[in-house]
C-alpha cells in the first residue's frame, strides 16, 4: 500500500485519466506484458535471490522503500536452484504484471480514521489518496506449486502420511523435500516482492505524468508491503506444561496475513513501538481497511489476521447473478472507475460476490488480533 500527499480534491476530474494510464502502464499479464522488461535466465535468477532489492538496483523505486517491505523484500533462504526450468519460463515475461482473479491496483482515499496515533505513524490522514497493489508471484509461483505437489505426493507416501485430500500432500519441514520446497517458495516470494516493487514504480510514473510533477512532490511512499498465503519459520511462545517457551515454528498464513504487534525485531523502526500495518482489501465497490498488529495476535494467532473479506458467492453464482447487467457501468454510477482486461474477471469480482469487509474487520478488531486504524473508499481500479 502506498500513501500520497494528495487529497481527494486534488484528483477530482483526474481519476479517469489516472486509471486509464495505470491500465496502459501496468499490464495485466493475461495476454500482455511490457516489452521494455524482458529478462534473461541469469537475470531472473538474481530476481529470485534478491527480490525487491533487484528491482531497486535496476531503477524501480527507491532504496528507502525496502525498509517498508516485509523481510525488506528479500527472503535470504531463497534458492533459485530449487526452481524448475518450467517455472523460469513462466516467470520470464510476467514480472511487472498484475494477473487476473482478485488481483488489482486500486486508487482510493481515506474516509475515516479510527486510531489517530497509529494513523499518524503510518502517515495516514483523512481524505488522503492511497494506492493498494495486490499481486504475487504469478505463473512462476503457480508452476512451483504444481512441481512440488508432484514431489510432495511421493514424499507423503515415503513418510507414511495419510492424506484426506491429495491436494494436502506434504513432507516434514526438516526433510530434504521440505527444505527444498521452503527455498523454492522463498524464491517465489522474492519474485512477488520484485513484482510489486516494479508496479509501485510504474504507479509513481503514472502519477508524475498526470500531475506533471516529481514523485517526491506527490509523496507516493510505501506504507507497507506484506505477504499473505505464505509459510514462514518464526519464533513464537508455545506452552509446554505450565511454562511458556520461545520455539521455532512454521506458520502457514493461508488466507491470512501477518499482524505483528509492537516490540517485534523484524518491524521497520518507525512501526516498532506501535505494531505493523495490516492491510485488508475489500471488494472493488465498498471499502478496504488499514489495521494495526497487536500483542494479542502474537499470543493467540501466531501474529496473524485474515487477509481479505472472503467470497460469499461462488464464481458460477456470480456469473448467474450478473446476467443482463454491466458491472463496469454499475461501478461507474457509484463513482468508481474500473478497467479490466477481461469481462469475466469483473463479473466474478463484483461487490456482492464478497462478504462485507466492514463486518469482517469489526470481528478482527473485537477479537483483538488487529485494531482498526483507517477506512479506505475506492475511486478506481485496474484488474486483469
Amino acid at each position: 500500500m502506498l500513501r500520497s500527499v494528495l487529497s481527494v480534491k486534488d484528483i477530482k476530474g483526474k481519476i479517469k485519466d489516472i486509471i486509464d494510464l495505470l491500465y496502459i502502464n501496468i499490464p495485466s499479464g493475461v495476454g500482455s506484458h511490457r516489452k521494455d522488461l524482458k529478462l534473461s535466465r541469469d537475470e531472473l535468477k538474481k530476481v529470485l535471490k534478491k527480490g525487491a532489492r533487484w528491482a531497486v538496483e535496476n531503477g524501480f523505486g527507491e532504496k528507502e522503500d525496502l525498509e517498508y517491505i516485509e523481510d525488506t523484500g528479500e527472503m535470504d533462504h531463497a534458492d533459485p536452484e530449487c526452481v524448475s526450468d518450467k517455472a523460469f519460463d513462466r516467470g520470464r515475461d510476467q514480472l511487472g504484471t498484475v494477473g487476473s482473479g482478485n488481483h488489482f491496483v486500486e486508487v482510493g482515499y481515506i474516509k475515516e480514521i479510527y486510531d489517530r496515533e497509529a494513523a499518524e505513524r503510518f502517515g495516514l490522514f483523512e481524505n488522503q489518496i492511497t494506492i493498494m497493489i495486490h499481486t504475487g508471484s504469478r505463473g512462476l509461483g503457480y508452476q512451483i506449486c504444481d512441481d512440488y505437489i508432484r514431489e510432495m505426493m511421493k514424499a507423503s507416501e515415503r513418510y507414511g502420511i495419510y492424506l484426506p485430500d491429495r491436494q494436502l500432500c506434504c513432507a516434514p519441514i526438516e526433510s530434504p523435500e521440505g527444505k527444498r520446497y521452503l527455498s523454492a517458495m522463498a524464491a517465489a516470494a522474492n519474485y512477488a516482492f520484485a513484482n510489486r516493487q516494479i508496479i509501485t514504480h510504474w504507479v509513481r510514473e503514472t502519477f508524475e505524468e498526470i500531475f506533471r510533477m516529481g514523485a517526491n512532490k506527490i509523496g507516493l511512499s510505501l506504507v507497507y508491503d506484506v505477504c499473505h498465503n505464505i509459510a514462514k519459520i518464526e519464533k513464537h511462545k508455545i506452552k509446554e506444561g505450565k511454562k511458556e517457551k520461545e520455539t521455532l515454528v512454521c506458520v502457514h498464513r493461508k488466507g491470512a496475513t501477518r499482524s505483528f504487534g509492537s516490540g517485534e525485531d523484524v518491524l521497520p523502526h518507525r512501526y516498532k513501538d506501535i505494531g505493523q500495518p495490516v492491510l485488508i482489501p475489500g471488494d472493488m465497490g465498498r471499502s478496504s481497511y488499514v489495521l494495526c498488529g497487536t500483542k494479542k495476535a502474537m499470543e493467540e494467532t501466531f501474529g496473524s489476521t485474515c487477509h481479505g473479506a472472503g467470497r460469499v458467492l461462488s464464481r458460477n453464482q456470480a456469473i448467474k447473478a450478473s446476467k443482463g447487467r454491466s458491472i463496469s457501468k454499475e461501478m461507474e454510477e457509484k463513482g468508481i472507475i474500473v478497467r479490466a482486461a477481461s469481462k469475466s474477471t469483473l463479473v466474478e469480482e463484483m461487490p456482492e460476490a464478497y462478504k462485507d469487509v466492514s463486518k469482517v474487520v469489526q470481528v478482527v478488531h473485537n477479537a483483538g488480533i488487529s485494531r482498526l486504524v483507517a477506512k479506505i473508499i475506492p475511486l478506481g481500479c485496474i484488474k486483469g
Binding site: 485430500d165 491436494q167 458460477n316
Partner: protein, 146 residues
C-alpha cells in the same frame, strides 16, 4: 428407463461446470480415455480464452508421463504452453497407454485482435479429483485453482 435417459444425456455432454466456493470445477465425460482428455482440455480452456475466430495453425508433440495423475499433468502442461507461448489447443490426436500420453495437439496462438481473454487459471488441482469408468463412459471431476 430414467437411468438410460440420463446416461444418453451424459454421452452427448462433453463437460459441465460444477459448483465450488472459491474456485471453479468441471465434470468431464468421454467414451474413451482419449476423448475424456480432449474434452477436459476444451473444458479448461473455455474458462481461459475464447478463440473461436481463429483456426488451428500450429502443432505440438505431447509426451506426458503419469507421475501423479496423467489427466492433471496433461492439463497443467497445456496451461504451461498457454502461459509461456499463448498456445490455445483445438484438436487432439493422442494415445494413452501404460500411464503415458503421446501424440499431437494442433491449435492457434493468442491474438488480441481475434481472441478474448476470460480469466487466468493457475493450475488444475488434486483437490476432490476423480476419474472413473462406469458402463463404458469415463467421467472425471476436476477443480481449477483460479
Amino acid at each position: 428407463m430414467k437411468n438410460k435417459k440420463v446416461q444418453q444425456k451424459k454421452e452427448e455432454l462433453k463437460f459441465k461446470p460444477i459448483e465450488h466456493e472459491a474456485d471453479v470445477g468441471l465434470e468431464v465425460y468421454g467414451k474413451t480415455l482419449e476423448e475424456l482428455f480432449s474434452n477436459a482440455a476444451h473444458g479448461v480452456f473455455q474458462f481461459i480464452v475464447d478463440a473461436e475466430k481463429k483456426g488451428a495453425e500450429k502443432g505440438k508433440k505431447l509426451n506426458i508421463e503419469g507421475n501423479g495423475e496423467l489427466l492433471i499433468n496433461f492439463l497443467n502442461e497445456l496451461i504451461y504452453l498457454w502461459d509461456t507461448e499463448g498456445f490455445i489447443p483445438k484438436e487432439f490426436s493422442i494415445k494413452i497407454d501404460n500411464n503415458r500420453l503421446t501424440g499431437t495437439v494442433v491449435g492457434c496462438v493468442f491474438d488480441p485482435e481475434k481472441c478474448t481473454i476470460k480469466q487466468e487459471v493457475k493450475a488444475v488441482t488434486y483437490h476432490k479429483f476423480s476419474l472413473k469408468e462406469d458402463n463404458g463412459l469415463y467421467k472425471a471431476q476436476i477443480i481449477l485453482d483460479v
